[in-house]
Amino acid sequence: MILMLNIFTIIMMISNIMMFLSIIISKKTYMDREKCSPFECGFDPKSSARIPFSLHFFLITVIFLIFDVEIALIFPIIKLFKLVNFFLWTKISFFFILILLIGLYHEWNQNMLNWTN
């Protein structure tokens, strides 16, 4: 743990120094108004960038959340292999993955995975 903290500190120092160095040694002419405006092919941006986005992205994220939680539940199966009864382990893992698979097919059947409607 202390080792990882040390490593993290060193890596953080290196990357912050790289960013800081580029700020110090780079050429600076930010008097220009156009230079600081968001990039939009030579004219001022027409609409704000803080706009609402398509709901599909959010729905995909919700589906991802379910599957990621289930992956997090699958991972202990590996470690449990050496600890619990073999027959029990087989039964539990098979049923768990089968339920996950049926859930995926159900979601497919309900057209949740369609990107365009």
Binding site: S15, S22, S47, F67, L113
Partner: protein, 312 residues
């Protein structure tokens, strides 16, 4: 004794970081050369001896460029998200499975998964905070894409973990001394390859920075230092993905030069794919992840669980 150990590990860490950065630099040179010869022209061949020093001159040029401060951007987020992505990519490299002198993880796979899932946030924040429409769109696309491929990536990884029943990356070489896993699970290997292409936002799936539609995607507003850090992070994650492919499917790490040869061949494959394939369509990308790779990897996971039970 303990403090000497720490010193040794820190020196090893510094050497590893320098090695990774130089490797990334030469990966970009390799990419430019290979793309050049694919398009029947020579790549960079002037700087230094036959273009050997090209990446360093690129780096110096990028560092002396001007750093912009976009109007109405969330400046703290804008400034620190490339730094964070670079930190994450270097932290992933701590996983490199040496027998000595670096950290040896017992739960390396979990560390890998957590670091790659944190990588989504940096792309999202750098796209959102730079207050540009292109950057926002690129960031959104990158988030949805990376998230959906992460699920299939984790599940494909699961079936090879089920074969070795351990989270330690060193175990892969132990279980593959007789036969490589690519021969046991060839379809899964191909799924892993394209999932890692999508996970690192590489070319057939580079919707985060589609040059033809969004100008440069989530990093439009970045210049000099921020761009360098994003660039280094992306290419080092490509190198790490090819390392992981070699580790899992092509024999694992066994203290021989062929490991590095296989690694560089796989990273050449990444470049080759970029030179060959056109960009995919976004809805097809989503279908590919949710309707092909996810069911296939789940079914294969079930199969390999049964296979493992059969073996024991």
């Amino acid at each position: 004794m303990f403090i000497l150990d720490i010193y040794l590990i820190m020196i090893g860490l510094l050497i590893l970081i320098v090695g990774v950065l130089i490797g990334v630099a030469y990966l970009t040179l390799l990419e430019r050369k290979v793309l050049g010869y694919i398009q029947i022209r020579k790549g960079p061949n002037k700087v230094g001896f036959m273009g050997i020093l090209q990446p360093f001159s690129d780096g110096i040029k990028l560092f002396t460029k001007e750093q912009t401060y976009p109007n109405f951007s969330n400046y703290i987020c804008y400034y620190f998200s490339p730094v964070l992505s670079f930190i994450l990519c270097l932290m992933i490299w701590m996983l490199i499975p040496y027998y000595f002198n670096l950290v040896s993880f017992n739960l390396g796979i979990l560390f890998f998964l957590s670091c790659t899932s944190l990588g989504v946030y940096t792309v999202m924040v750098s796209g959102w905070s730079s207050n540009s429409n292109y950057a926002l769109l690129g960031g959104l696309r990158a988030v949805a894409q990376t998230i959906s491929y992460e699920v299939s990536l984790a599940l494909i990884l699961m079936s090879s973990i089920v074969m070795i029943m351990d989270f330690n990356l060193l175990m892969f070489s132990l279980y593959q001394s007789m036969i490589w896993f690519i021969f046991l699970m060839f379809p899964l290997g191909l799924c892993w390859m394209s999932s890692s292409l999508a996970e690192t936002n590489r070319t057939p799936f580079d919707f985060a920075e589609g040059e033809s539609e969004l100008v440069s995607g989530f990093n439009v507003e970045y210049s000099s230092g921020g761009f360098v850090l994003i660039f280094l992070a992306e290419y080092s994650s490509i190198l790490f993905m090819s390392l992981l492919f070699t580790l899992i499917y092509l024999g694992g790490f066994n203290l021989s030069i062929f490991f590095y040869l296989k690694l560089s061949l796989i990273s050449f494959l990444f470049v080759w794919v970029r030179g060959t394939l056109p960009r995919y369509r976004y809805d097809k990308l989503m279908y590919l992840s949710w309707k092909s790779y996810l069911p296939v990897s789940l079914n294969f996971l079930l199969f390999f669980l049964g296979f493992k039970v059969f073996l024991i």
